[in-house]
Amino acid sequence: MSKVYIYKGFERFWHWSQASLIMFLAVTGFEVHGTFDIFGFEKAVAFHRTASWLLLGLIVISIFWHFTTGEWRQYIPTTKNLKEQLRYYLVDMFRGKQHPTKKTQLRKLNPLQRLVYLSFKLVLIPMTLISGIMYMLYKSFDENNIVIVEDYPLEDIAFWHTLGAILLIVFLIVHVYMTTTGETPTSNINAMITGYEDLEDTPKTSEKKEEEKNDVNPTKKVKQ
């Protein structure tokens, strides 16, 4: 075991600011929805809009970061080890078995995480974001007094936005719980705070091909 610097500064900043923005948006959003009363409708709307602009800015920057650093490769989906990973969470972990996927600097996500995070980035966030932008621009006028978003019914916009919000909260609950399934219950959270995580030693030659070989599940290899 050794401490590995796995989450970079921006990555941690992005993660925690996105997390707090999404939670704040959930609180204010569901207040606008009429679920509860905390800030009052008017303030909730104003806060929700401000936070949504911040989140939009953050997302733009983080997309830039993902592409310029090549971190986007972390989310390339794979079916390799997927079943094992699923079985680990459902069965094996109760038996005290080891994680089937080895975490490394270049391979931070297990195949299940890859799938979930990828769909989070490609489906859930865009769905909530686009419906949110449409909500925000609904009945807006441009400088020529032309209504920008009108023909699409607000009811449908609200439906997709609310659905996105509900799924985000479900994601949040499961995601927070899953952080406790690391080496120790707090090791994942610590890693996301400090950037360092205790990982099993990896070969010194951390080239990609070597990595992949190491990553393959022994049982599967035998079958092959």
Binding site: M1, V32, H33, G34, G40, F41, E42, V45, R49, Y89, M93, F94, R95, G96, K97, Q98, Y138, K139, S140, F141, N145, V147, E150, P153, L154, E155, A158, F159, T162, L163, I166, L167, I169, V170, I173, V174, Y177, T180, T181, E183, T184, D198
Partner: protein
């Protein structure tokens, strides 16, 4: 450790400083300042009519005054005689009905029902003299009443049931010399008292507006802008801007808030955006009839009760008639919260002779719906009543109400529906079967006056609330904060419950297994070791 504490403190201080530096007080609304400045100057007439020799004479009849006016204002009578104030009628095109004439001449209402056959009394609010029947000569310029609108002496008033002639006590010479732009008094002499008393019909127009504070009417307040009616209801060639939709049908020449306040009067973009679907009046007239009560219902079917053979009246606690033998029972209300409807600027009215097709007769129908691009939500007073109708021919009856003496069939003298209905329909030239009953009626009065100061305007939660909001009854569209997708909410709730349940049971199983296999214990025991031990069974 100290470093991170310092960083946190620095960030917090920096944030506080940034918030304080970037905070600005609400800037002055220059648009509003400009308007206030513009209307602060009162017009000074360029002619002092006191100084005109031609007006210094003894006028025997009011027509003589008109003739004298026309010696200088030589063509003005043509303008006036083309107006709806003169004709009690206005041509307009109504989709599906073609060109359609509507006005007090042929439209019925659920107050005093209609002018037909009752002209002598109703003409108190006509800008002409001598209208005592429905055979009035609308081409006689001598009968144009210039004074009723232009008298600035506050002396002029029309006599009761005198067919539009001034009261005999009026000093015509004095009035003729003191003419000028119409004041609130002039307009109010009819529009405040329509329906036979102060604030009876409109609910947002009444004598209190001659001298009120900003809470009552922000525009007309004497401690505010103190504006005259004609400031907004401007006129070109005596065609006055603004429409009352109990008699008007089309969407032209309306007086709109936007004419002065523009379509983006707020600093807040979200508020401005509401203007695409919500009229200014909706938020800015939170209640009407703020000083004196207005009539909310009128049941004609209760009329005709007598005590010892004589008509009588009952007053409510505020001094309003709750019952009159000649008119029936009324319900009055003060500080009323408006009803809200969609309105696109066009309307139609129940006209004398129209067939009844619904259980509740709409005396006027305001067109509009959420899906109509031109429609906005507006506040209205809904006046409800019941009135006499022909059960055979399915028509509202125009009864003869006013008469000079007993025995001439007028209801207000004889209290007999049979003869009043027969006579009224006869005069109006309408068929009548002789069989009548009473039917429920409704009329819609858009509210445009008694605008409150902005701090009294409706706030978001007055509408954006799950239950009990102002727009609770206006359904068929999605209103954030009020409407939800019930299915989605239910699915969402169960998804969350399921997620929490899944997480909790998963955690429970893990803890259970760990305890069973003493995994925690082992970790505790091994805490002195340099490295964490491998798991028990790995």
């Amino acid at each position: 450790m100290y470093k991170s504490i310092i960083i946190v403190i620095v960030i917090i201080i920096a944030t506080l400083v940034a918030v304080n530096v970037s905070h600005e007080d609400e800037p002055a609304n220059l648009k509003l300042e400009q308007l206030k400045q513009k209307y602060a100057f009162k017009a000074v007439p360029s002619v002092d009519h006191h100084k005109l020799d031609v007006l210094h004479k003894k006028f025997e009849t009011p027509q003589e005054v008109t003739e004298t006016c026309l010696t200088c204002h030589t063509e003005t009578h043509k303008e006036v005689m083309a107006s709806s104030h003169w004709n009690w009628d206005r041509l307009s095109y109504v989709k599906g009905k073609g060109v359609y004439a509507s006005g007090k001449k042929n439209v019925l209402n659920n107050f005093c029902i209609g002018a037909n056959s009752n002209e002598k009394s109703c003409a108190k609010c006509h800008i002409g003299f001598g209208m005592d029947s429905n055979h009035y000569d609308f081409t006689n310029a001598r009968n144009v009443d210039c004074m009723v609108c232009h008298d600035n002496s506050e002396e002029y008033f029309k006599g009761s049931s005198m067919a539009g002639y001034p009261d005999r006590t009026v000093n015509l010479e004095n009035v003729a010399q003191s003419v000028g732009l119409p004041t609130r008094n002039n307009c109010g002499s009819c529009h405040f008292f329509s329906g036979g008393g102060n604030n009876v019909k409109h609910g947002d127009l009444e004598v209190a507006q001659l001298s009120c504070d900003r809470e009552v009417d922000v525009h007309m307040a004497t401690n505010g802008m103190n504006m005259e009616c004609v400031a907004c209801h401007t006129a070109t060639n005596h065609q006055i801007k603004g429409k009352l939709y109990s008699v008007s049908t089309n969407n032209i020449n309306r007086a709109k808030c936007q004419d002065c306040h523009t379509t983006t009067p707020h600093f807040n973009d979200v508020l401005n955006r509401h203007g695409s679907k919500i009229a200014c009046q909706t938020c800015h007239i939170p209640e009407y009839a703020k000083v004196n009560s207005t009539k909310m219902s009128w049941n004609w079917s209760d009329a005709g009760k007598l005590k010892d053979g004589e008509p009588y009246s009952i007053e409510d606690s505020l001094g309003n008639h709750s019952y009159l033998s000649i008119k029936g029972s009324f319900d009055w209300q003060r500080n009323v919260k408006p009803d809200y409807v969609w309105f696109n600027g066009t309307a139609e009215q129940y006209r004398l002779g129209d067939s009844i097709t619904t259980d509740v007769v709409k005396m006027n129908t305001l067109h509009g719906s959420y899906n109509d691009r031109n429609s906005k939500i507006i506040p209205v007073k809904i006046h409800r009543g019941n009135q006499i109708y022909d059960t055979e021919y399915k028509r509202i009856i125009q009864p003869l109400l006013y008469g000079d003496k007993k025995g001439d069939s007028a209801y207000w003298n004889d209290f007999n529906w049979v003869t009043a209905a027969k006579k009224g329909m006869e005069i109006a030239g309408q068929p009548y079967s002789g069989k009548f009953d009473f039917i429920k009626t409704e009329s819609y009065w858009p509210l445009n006056h008694m605008v409150s100061p902005k701090d009294k305007a409706l706030s978001c939660v007055d509408c954006h609330t799950r239950t009990g909001g102002r727009l609770e009854n206006l359904t068929g569209f999605y209103l954030p904060g009020r409407d939800t997708n019930k299915t989605l909410d239910a699915v969402g709730k169960w998804l969350l419950i399921f997620a929490v349940f899944g997480v909790v049971s998963h955690a429970g199983l893990r803890i259970g297994q760990d305890l069973k296999h003493n995994r925690y214990k082992k970790q505790v025991i091994d805490h002195n070791k340099e490295e964490q031990p491998d798991r028990l069974d790995s």
